[in-house]
Amino acid sequence: MGTGFWAGIVIWLISLAMAIPFITQWWWMPDPITALGREIDRAFMWTLIGTGVIFILAQATLGYAAWKFGRRSGARARDMHGNNKLELIWTSAALVIFVALTLAGFSVWAEVRFIEQRAADPTPDRLVVEVTGQQFVWNMRYAGEDNKFGPVDFLQADDAGGNPVGVDRGHPDGADDIMVPEMRVPVNKEVELILKSKDVLHNFFVPELRIKLDTVPGLVGKLRFTPDTVGKYEIVCSELCGLGHYKMRSFLHVVSAEDYDAWLQEQAEFL
C-alpha cells in the first residue's frame, strides 16, 4: 500500500470522525425556547445539510484522488485543461445554495433586529427590561408600577447601595424602578430588552434564545423575544470585557404569569 492509499484512508476517516458528532447530535445546542429560536435552528439544519453534503463530497473525492492516481511506472498523466461546463455547474450550484440559505434567514433576522424600523407596532403590551453591562456583572432594570424608566446617570451609580446604574430616585419615574441582578420574565409574553453598557463592550447572550447582541457604551441596543418554556437559563457574556469576562454571567428565569406577578410585588415592597 502506497502513501496515496494511506492519504486517502486518513482523509476519509478524519472527515467521518468530524461528521459523526454532527449527525448524531452528540454535542448539541440546548433546546430553543422561542419560535424564532426554532426557526434559527431550522436555518442551521439546512445549512448543516448543505455544507455537510459538500464537505463529504469534496473530502471523499480528494481522498479518492489521492488513493487512485498514484504514480505508475511508464504511465503518463492525463492531459486535461479544465472543464468550463462542469466548473460553471458546480460553482453556480454552490452559489445558489449559499445565497438561498442566506436569503431564507433574512426574515428571522428582520424579526430579531428591525425594531426601531418597524413603524406601527400592534402589540404594545410588552415587558421592557433594561440591561446594563458593567465589568463583570449584569444589571437588570424594570420600570415598576408606572411603566416608565426614570433618568439615569452612571456617575451617580452606587454599586453597594443597590443602585448600580445611578437611577434618579428623586424623579417620579425613577422612584419605583426595580434593579435586580437576574432577569425574570413571564412565559409567553413578548419581552423587549434595552441593552446598554457602563464601561466597555459586553455581549448579552442566552443560548436558549439563540440571540445575542453587544452592549455598546454610548449606544442603545434592542432585542425582542417571546419565551414559551418555563425554566432557568444562563446569560453569558460573549464579548471580551476584561479579566473577569469568563465569570460575567447571570440568569434568565422564565416563570408563569402568577409567579412573575408575585415576584414583582415582592420587589416593589423592597423599595
Binding site: 478524519i14 436555518a43 480528494l62 472543464n83 466548473e87 452559489l95 465589568q135 444562563e234 471580551l240 469568563y246
Partner: protein, 605 residues
C-alpha cells in the same frame, strides 16, 4: 565575477548588466539588499515567532484544563502574571492576545509573502532582484522592529496586553478598564510599524511583478504563486494603510486625550472616564476593513503554492488555470466588501447585515472554484507523494473543512448563536491558521533544495506531516463541538458557566489539550529537520531535482547572487506544461522552446 551556468534548458536569453556581489558579513547577511537573503530573514523571523506563538497556545491550553495548577517555572518568569506558577485570568488573556497577534502578523503575514514571495517572485519572473532592493531591506528591518516592540510587551510593567488580537476599544483604549498599561501601547506601536513595513513591501511586490518580467512572460503565463503574491500585495497596499490610521488614532486615544473610539459618559469601576464623542464601532469597521483582507493575505500565497505543487507532483497542468487566476482576483476584490460579517452582533445597523452576508456567500464561489480545480488537477495524474505534495493535499482538506464552517458564520441569523464561541475559533484556525501553515510547510519542503542546495530528510518530513495533519484535526475539530454547547471564546476558564459543567465540555477540553501537546511536540521534528538539513542535509547539486517547469529550476542550487548571472531567459510557454500529449518527457520548462522536448522527435531527454 564568476560566470553563472544556466541550465541547458534555457533556449535563449537576454544579456543584462550584472550586480556586483556585496562584500563583508554585514552587507551580505544582515543589512542585505539581496531579495534571497531578505526572504530567508523573513522565514527565520516567522520560524521564531511561530515557536513563541505555539508556546503561548500551550499556556492557553494548560490553563483551560488545569486553571488552579501551578507550573513552577512560570512563577519565576512572570511573578505577577503567574504568582507561584498559577496563571491568573488576566495572564491567560495576555497570553491569548499575544498568541493571536504573533501568529497572525508575525507568522502568517511574514513567511508566505515576505519569505517565499521575496525569495521566489523575482526568480520566477526572471528578475535579478526586487524593483527596489533597499526598500526591501527597510521592509524587513521595520518588521523586525515591530516584532521587537511586540515581544517587549511581555516584560514591561503590567505585562502584555489582554484586549485580544482585535484590540477592541474601550477595553484597549481606556487603561483603567484593563490591568495592563504600557503593554497595550507597545502592541499598538508594534502594529503601526508592521503596517508601514507591509505597505513598503506591497509596493515593491507590485512594481516588481508589473515591470520586471522576462521576455515572453505574459501575465497569463505567470506561475500561480506569482499571481497570489501579486494580488496579496495589492490587498496589503489597500488594507494596511487603514489599520495604520486606526492604530495611530487608538494610540492618541490612549495617550493624548483624544476620543476617536471612546464615547462619553463611561464609568469604569465607579470612576468617570474623561472622554466624549467617540465610537467603539468605528474601530471595528476600520479594524475589519483591514482584518478580512488580512485573512486572504495570510491564505492566498498558500493557495498559490498549493496549486503550483499539486500540478508539479501530479505531473499535470493546473486544471482551469484561467479560472484560477480569475478566482484569485475575485477573492481579492470581494475580500474588501465583506468585513461586516465580523460585526453582525456589534450593534451596527441591522440593514447592512443583508449586504454583507450576501457578499460573503459570493466569496464562497471563487473558493469553490479553487477547490474544484485542485481536485481536478489531481484527477488522472501520476501523483508523486513527496512530503511537499502531502502538505499540499493536506492544505486542500483543511481549506475545505475550514471554509464550510464559514457558511454558518456568514449568515447573520446563525451567527447570532455562534458569534464569539469556539465554533469561530475552530473555523479560523482551520482555514487561516493551519491551512496557511501547511502552505508554508509545503513551500519549505519544496524549495529547500533550491534555497540551500541540500535536501531535507524526506522520511522525517513524512512523519511530521502525518503527526501534524492528524494532530491539527484533533485539536480544532472538537472545538466545533465546544462551539455547539455553546462555549464562549476568550474565557480564561469555564468554571463560571453552569451548562459547561454538566455536559462533556471538560472532556473535550482535555482531549484538545492532549492533542495540542502532541502536535506541538511534533513541530520539533520539523525544526530539527530544517536546522539539521541546512548544515548536514544530503547535497543537491541538480538544478531541477523535482522536474519542475518554472524559472527557479533553471539556475543553480543555491542560486548565485544575481540569480541569472546577467542572462535573463526568454519564456515560451505557460507555467504548467506537464504531460503534453505526444511529448517525450512529461514536463516542459517555461524557458525551453525546443519542440523536440515535447514533440515525438528524438533528443528530448
Amino acid at each position: 565575477m564568476t560566470e553563472v551556468e544556466l541550465s541547458p534548458e534555457v533556449s535563449e536569453y537576454t544579456e543584462v548588466h550584472r550586480h556586483p556581489e556585496p562584500k563583508g558579513f554585514i552587507a551580505k547577511w544582515i543589512f542585505s539588499v539581496d531579495h534571497k537573503v531578505i526572504g530567508i530573514q523573513y522565514l527565520l523571523l516567522a520560524l521564531v515567532a511561530a515557536f513563541v506563538g505555539m508556546g503561548l497556545s500551550l499556556l492557553v491550553r494548560l490553563r483551560l484544563v488545569w486553571p488552579e495548577r501551578s507550573f513552577g517555572i512560570l512563577g519565576d518568569l512572570f511573578p505577577v502574571g503567574a504568582p507561584d506558577g498559577v496563571m491568573t485570568p488576566e495572564f491567560y488573556l495576555a497570553m491569548l492576545t499575544m498568541h493571536g497577534t504573533i501568529m497572525v502578523f508575525m507568522v502568517l503575514t511574514t513567511a508566505p509573502q515576505g519569505g517565499f514571495g521575496n525569495y521566489f517572485l523575482p526568480i520566477q519572473i526572471g528578475a535579478a532582484d526586487m524593483a527596489f532592493p533597499r526598500l526591501n531591506m527597510l521592509s524587513f528591518w521595520t518588521t523586525f522592529v515591530s516584532f521587537s516592540f511586540l515581544i517587549a510587551a511581555f516584560f514591561v510593567e503590567g505585562g502584555a496586553p489582554m484586549a485580544g488580537w482585535t484590540g477592541y476599544p474601550p477595553l484597549s483604549a481606556v487603561p483603567e478598564a484593563a490591568v495592563q498599561g504600557i503593554g497595550q501601547d507597545l502592541w499598538v506601536v508594534s502594529i503601526a510599524f508592521f503596517c508601514i513595513a507591509s505597505l513598503l513591501a506591497a509596493l515593491n511586490f507590485i512594481v516588481t511583478t508589473l515591470d520586471l518580467r522576462a521576455k515572453g512572460l505574459t501575465m497569463m503565463r505567470l506561475p500561480l504563486t506569482v499571481w497570489t503574491w501579486f494580488v496579496t500585495a495589492i490587498l496589503g497596499l489597500l488594507a494596511f494603510g487603514v489599520l495604520l490610521a486606526a492604530g495611530v488614532l487608538l494610540l492618541m486615544d490612549r495617550n493624548m486625550g483624544t476620543s476617536f473610539f471612546v464615547p462619553g459618559g463611561l464609568v469604569v469601576s465607579d470612576k468617570a472616564i474623561d472622554h466624549s464623542g467617540g465610537s467603539p464601532i468605528l474601530w471595528q469597521h476600520l479594524f475589519w476593513f483591514f482584518g478580512h483582507p488580512e485573512v486572504y493575505i495570510a491564505i492566498l500565497p498558500g493557495m498559490g503554492v498549493t496549486s503550483h505543487l499539486l500540478a508539479t507532483f501530479a505531473r499535470k497542468q493546473v486544471y482551469g488555470y484561467k479560472a484560477m487566476v480569475y478566482a484569485i482576483a475575485a477573492i481579492g476584490i470581494l475580500g474588501f466588501v465583506v468585513w461586516g460579517h465580523h460585526m453582525f452582533v456589534s450593534g451596527m445597523s441591522p440593514y447592512s447585515a443583508f449586504v454583507f452576508s450576501v457578499l460573503t456567500m459570493c466569496i464562497g464561489v471563487p473558493s469553490a472554484i479553487k477547490t474544484f480545480n485542485w481536485i481536478g488537477t489531481l484527477w488522472g495524474g501520476q501523483i508523486r507523494f513527496t512530503s511537499p505534495m502531502l502538505y499540499s493535499i493536506g492544505f486542500v482538506s483543511l481549506f475545505v473543512s475550514g471554509g464550510l464552517s464559514g457558511i454558518f458564520l456568514g449568515q447573520p441569523t446563525i451567527d447570532l448563536y455562534f458569534h464569539d464561541t469556539y465554533f469561530v475559533v475552530a473555523h479560523f484556525h482551520l482555514i487561516m491558521g493551519v491551512a496557511a501553515i501547511f502552505g508554508m510547510f509545503a513551500g519549505v519542503a519544496f524549495w529547500f533544495p533550491k534555497m540551500f542546495g541540500r535536501w531535507m530528510d524526506e522520511g522525517l518530513g513524512k512523519i511530521h506531516f502525518w503527526c501534524t495533519f492528524i494532530g491539527v484535526y484533533a485539536i480544532f475539530g472538537p472545538m466545533h463541538y465546544l462551539g455547539m454547547l455553546p462555549h464562549p471564546r476568550r474565557y480564561a476558564e469555564f468554571t463560571g458557566v453552569d451548562y459547561l459543567q454538566t455536559g462533556s465540555a471538560g472532556e473535550l477540553h482535555y482531549f484538545i489539550t492532549i492533542a495540542a501537546m502532541f502536535t506541538i511536540t511534533a513541530q520539533f521534528l520539523f525544526l530539527f529537520n530544517f536546522v539539521k538539513s541546512i548544515f548536514a542535509g544530503k547535497p543537491c547539486t541538480e538544478a531541477n531535482p523535482w522536474e519542475a517547469t518554472t524559472l527557479e529550476w533553471a539556475i543553480p542550487s543555491p542560486p548565485p547572487h544575481d540569480n541569472f548571472g546577467g542572462k535573463v531567459p526568454h519564456i515560451y510557454r505557460g507555467s504548467y506544461d506537464f504531460s503534453l500529449p505526444g511529448a517525450k518527457r512529461d514536463f516542459a520548462m517555461q524557458c525551453n522552446k525546443d519542440e523536440a522536448v515535447y514533440g515525438s522527435a528524438a533528443g528530448g531527454d
